[in-house]
């Protein structure tokens, strides 16, 4: 076997740290969240929020996994009567909806939340309170949709809920109202989170981290966030139309009264296909961070990978109708979408070949668990990509669509390009978050169980699909050529479940006493590995400067700075006008900081210890531009989120009075959120 178990070693010296006596303690006092219940509910720290996102999303993954296990048990043999059709419909609808909306995207938001400020050398996200609000809204919307499962009225229309089956005539009851309202509630969270990432990545990179030096994970998070902002409105519109049709007698989708069932499909997939890239691009960004570390060299074709990431995000908007080839569209339209859908695989091909080249030209292959998951990821990605190109071919798709072939394809894509990189990322970054390593031994067991289980579950689905088995059937007749393969898939599903369980055991063991990680256990190159594990609340004692794409592999002296690379004087006021973000983001000129700073020999805008301060820089070159003062912890985002939840529950039960009350609390919480604290925040002092 080719697995190399040698412990990774750090290949290059780290940045020489600056050391200012007393500064760390001062920052600690400013940034610390008290360990009380109030502190926990009010925290706006991106690391806390990121961890909460990850834990919550992973719990949703396990819930949806249990639903999948129940379905596989039902399908283990033909004409099985383990689960009623009604329950089965709710199971596959909840499985898909949970995995797509409450696991696949939020888990990546968790990693991005934790990692973006650390990777760009900032002390928090641009809007920490909005960040807390995004999390609470994500959690509460998930609770809202899961409450339907407890009440036995879970959504039963599949995750894409085609009308008219989901309208009030064919789906009376609250099932589809839960779906529409919980999802609408979630879009608020997702959109707010995306805006936060965009602004943070654009404006809060540390000095020197010009666009060309941004880590590739920033490119993928940025692309994804922009795609969310453009894709979400289509989903929101589709859901609002659905609720209006169901509750208030409109006819957007009602064919009897001039509505169009296909309008739903267009709106849903205009959102839905970009969403596929939204849940895989950050994971490819993770791959572009992890693979170079274990090959001990910079990624090959950094610029191409960044370009490929952005172009995938853009082309992802032009392929939605390939979900609709069988609807009777004109041949000219299907031909166009067929070509576009094949074309969108080219940027993915570029990414894969960049990783292959990086592995080919490695300085050393370190086959630790994260790297094993990366190799598995490339394998599954290629299989999912090949079956994707096959379904992009219109005539073939007419056989494959809505059959188990599609189930196989979408699981290879989502398990391969979301779950595998996410597990790799846990093995890779969890030591940063907890300070403790995961077991490599258990990790290898984890990898092989999951890899074998996933392939055993999903590969036979290609074959049963081509043998004519439609998806979303709660049972099937014997003798059609599907029996043995379905039994195999069920066995695979349970092996997959063991794989996930091994991962959870590994995490628990690590938390209870894994080996200490130290700041940079893998010898990686990006800025998050510069600080202690786990990082202090304020992330960086001083805001770092970078002079390359791999700052930790290209050592330089922090005090003197690289000659010619970074302007050593404070930014000129005319060139870098002071600006303020919102009510809480106050600014001070670098000169004022330097006046009160005891460390005048350091470039002054890097100390930032007068309150929760961090640096704003210019969009392209990341030149220092202004000092941002970030808001204190507050409970208002949670109250706002609860009030919104109240409004959605009131809408669910058609209670206008309660909706009005919840609406009023919403407005009050927004006021509370934005209320300036007298004395704490001086008015912006702009340089004359």
């Amino acid at each position: 076997m080719i697995v190399d178990t040698a412990a990774p070693t750090a290949p290059a010296p780290e940045i020489e740290r600056v050391d200012i006596p007393g500064l760390a303690e001062r920052l600690d006092r400013t940034w610390k969240t008290p360990k009380t219940l109030y502190g926990a509910l009010a925290s706006v720290d991106h690391k806390t929020i990121g961890k909460r996102y990850m834990v919550t999303a992973f719990i949703f993954l396990m819930l949806a996994g249990l639903q999948a296990a129940a379905m596989r048990a039902q399908l283990a043999r033909p004409e099985n009567a383990l689960i009623s059709p009604e329950a089965y419909d709710q199971l596959f609808s909840m499985h898909g909806t949970t995995m797509i909306f409450w696991y696949a995207s939020p888990i990546l938001s968790g990693f991005s939340n934790y990692l973006v400020p650390l990777m760009i050398g900032s002390r928090d996200m641009a809007f920490p309170r909005l960040n807390a609000f995004s999390y609470w809204t994500f959690l509460l919307s998930g609770l809202l949709i899961y409450s339907s499962l407890l009440a036995g009225v879970a959504p039963h229309g599949g995750w894409f809920a085609y009308v008219p089956y989901t309208n009030a005539q064919y789906s009376p009851g609250l099932n589809m109202d839960f779906y529409a309202l919980a999802l609408l509630f979630l879009t608020v969270s997702t959109t707010a989170g995306a805006i936060n990432f965009i602004v943070s990545i654009f404006k809060m990179r540390c000095p020197g981290m010009s666009v060309s030096r941004m880590p590739l994970f920033m490119w993928s998070t940025l692309t994804t966030s922009v795609a969310i902002v453009f894709a979400m409105p289509a989903l929101s519109a589709a859901l609002i139309f659905l609720e209006l049709d169901r509750r208030y007698g409109t006819h957007f989708y009602d064919p009897v009264r001039g509505g169009a069932p296909l309008l739903w499909q267009h709106l849903f997939w205009v959102f839905g296909h970009p969403w596929v890239y939204i849940v895989i691009l950050p994971a490819t960004g993770m791959a572009s961070m992890i693979i170079p570390t274990f090959c001990r060299r910079p990624i090959v074709g950094h610029t191409y990978v960044a370009l490929a990431t952005v172009s995938t995000g853009i082309f992802g908007f032009g392929v939605w109708a390939h979900h609709m080839f069988a609807t009777g569209m004109p041949a000219l339209s299907t031909t166009f979408f067929s070509a576009a859908s094949m074309g969108v695989s080219i940027p993915s091909g570029m990414q894969i070949f960049a990783w292959l080249a990086t592995i080919w030209a490695a300085r050393r292959h370190v086959l630790a668990t994260p790297m094993l998951f990366m190799l598995g990821f490339i394998c599954l990605f290629v299989i999912g990509g090949v079956s994707g190109v096959m379904t992009a071919s219109v005539p073939f798709d007419l056989q494959a669509t809505d059959s188990y072939f599609i189930v196989a394809h979408l699981h290879y894509v989502l398990v391969g390009i979301n779950l595998f990189p996410v597990i790799a990322a846990f093995y890779y970054w969890l030591p940063k978050m907890t300070g403790r390593m995961l077991s490599e031994r258990l990790g290898k067991w984890n990898f092989w169980t999951l890899f074998i289980g996933v392939n055993l579950t999903f590969f036979p689905m290609h074959i049963v699909g081509l043998r004519g088995m439609p998806r979303r059937v709660y049972t099937y007749p014997a003798g059609m050529g599907w029996d043995g393969l379905n039994a195999l898939e069920t066995i695979g599903a349970f092996i997959t479940a063991i794989g996930v369980l091994l991962f959870v055991i590994n995490v628990i063991k690590s938390l209870r006493g894994g080996a200490l990680a130290g700041p940079n256990p893998w010898g990686a190159s990006s800025l998050e590995w510069m600080v202690s594990s786990p990082p202090p609340e304020y992330n960086f004692v001083t805001i770092p400067t970078v002079i390359s794409r791999e700052p930790l592999w290209d050592a330089h002296d922090e005090r003197t700075g690289p000659a010619g690379e970074i302007d050593d004087t404070p930014p000129d006021a005319a060139r870098a006008p002071m600006r303020s973000f919102g009510a809480h983001a106050q600014v001070q000129t670098p000169q004022e900081v330097s006046d009160r700073s005891s460390t005048a020999e350091l470039r002054p805008w890097r100390v930032l210890d007068d309150g929760k301060e961090t640096l704003e820089t210019t969009l392209l070159d990341a030149d220092p531009q202004a000092i941002l003062r970030l808001p204190e912890d507050t409970i208002w985002p949670l109250i706002l989120s609860l009030a919104l939840m109240g409004a959605f529950v009131a809408a669910l039960f058609k209670a206008p009075v309660w909706a009005a009350i919840a609406g009023a609390i919403t407005l009050i919480s927004i006021a509370g959120w934005l209320w300036p604290k007298p004395g704490t925040y001086p008015a912006p002092r702009l340089r004359a």
């Binding site: 009623s84 059709p85 085609y162 009897v256 001990r296 074709g301 592995i359 190799l375 071919s393 979303r472």
Partner: protein
């Protein structure tokens, strides 16, 4: 209970067990893409795995990283070569689409209407109305007009052609042609509610002479009862609520909501392919439809034992 449905069909419903020109060209395209995809997969896996053990002992972390021809790897390997392969697949796709658009001479037209959860089949030129079973003459192109009575369904007979969605408010159409005589299974492919799993149909492709005889049989009104058992059955049937939904041409029963029963006895399956058409299965179905298809729109009709047997005898006599 495992009904021996498989015995009814000549092949499994695989897209590669082709019985007509359309399915044949789709299968050819499918095999071509599977072959190309397999080669692509093997090449990528070789590029991924070979360096891992070939270079294992010669690598060194000293010195600068090896220079790599970025353009060769990423632009040629990752974009240009895949682009050429995709262009080839796209040309194949266009060729297959072009072949499938052309219709043959003298088509037969049938209408298929999707219901929750059964297929209504009409032959407008022959004035035939039946359910869950399509008969085709071998070698003749058939135009299928697709409509829905309620939600979206999808019409799929993998041995003969790809799917076409059946959408309310829209009329879709597709072409079927069977070149090999035989019985093929079709099934609804778009999730349409609780009994989506039990919404199958049979396609019987037969020689033109046999097809003509079938048409003649189906056009006729129901055969009158020939013995006392079926006569009793007819009386019970006509006085039961069955007639509100079901039609038996030649009798007062004229319901249009459910499947036409005029020639029920000639069909291969009952309850849209859920069970083979036998007396035992039919009795079980009438007695408690919800046990076989939970959620079905067909209610249980309160009949005592002798009445049930008589009705079963009557309906099965409707050949």
């Amino acid at each position: 209970m495992l009904p021996q449905l498989r015995a009814i069909y000549d092949t499994g419903p695989s897209m590669f067990a082709t019985a007509g020109p359309e399915a044949q060209s789709l299968a050819t395209l499918g095999w071509a893409m599977i072959a190309v995809g397999t080669i692509v997969f093997l090449v990528v896996m070789a590029l991924l795995l070979v360096p891992l053990w070939r270079r294992r002992h010669v690598l060194s972390e000293e010195g600068p990283p090896e220079l790599v021809n970025e353009r060769a790897w990423v632009l040629y390997g990752g974009a240009a070569i895949p682009g050429l392969i995709l262009a080839g697949i796209f040309v194949l796709t266009l060729g297959t689409m072009r072949a499938s658009l052309s219709a043959g001479p003298a088509p037969l037209t049938i209408e298929v209407i999707g219901h929750q959860w059964w297929w209504e089949v009409r032959y407008p030129e022959q004035a035939i109305r039946t359910a869950d079973e399509i008969h085709l003459p071998v070698g003749r192109p058939v135009k299928v007009i697709l409509r829905s009575a309620d939600v979206i369904h999808s019409f799929w007979v993998p041995n003969l052609a790809g799917k076409t969605d059946v959408i309310p408010g829209t009329t879709n159409s597709m072409w079927l042609q069977a070149d090999n005589a035989g019985t093929y299974r079709g099934q609804c492919a778009e999730y349409c509610g609780m009994q989506h799993a039990h919404m199958a149909l049979s396609v019987v492709a037969e020689a033109p002479g046999q097809f003509a005889r079938w048409v003649a049989d189906q056009r006729s009104v129901a055969h009158p009862p020939a013995d006392s058992a079926t006569l009793t059955g007819e009386r019970v049937f006509l006085s039961s609520p069955c007639v509100f939904c079901h039609q038996v041409r030649g009798t007062p029963a004229g319901g249009q909501i459910g499947p036409d029963l005029t020639h029920f006895g000639s069909r291969l399956t009952i309850a849209s392919g859920a069970l083979p058409n036998t007396r035992g299965n039919l009795a079980g179905w009438i007695e408690n439809p919800d046990r076989i298809k939970p959620g079905t729109k067909m209610p249980a009709i309160p009949l005592d034992g002798p009445q049930l047997l008589a009705v079963v005898a009557y309906i099965e006599s409707l050949k």
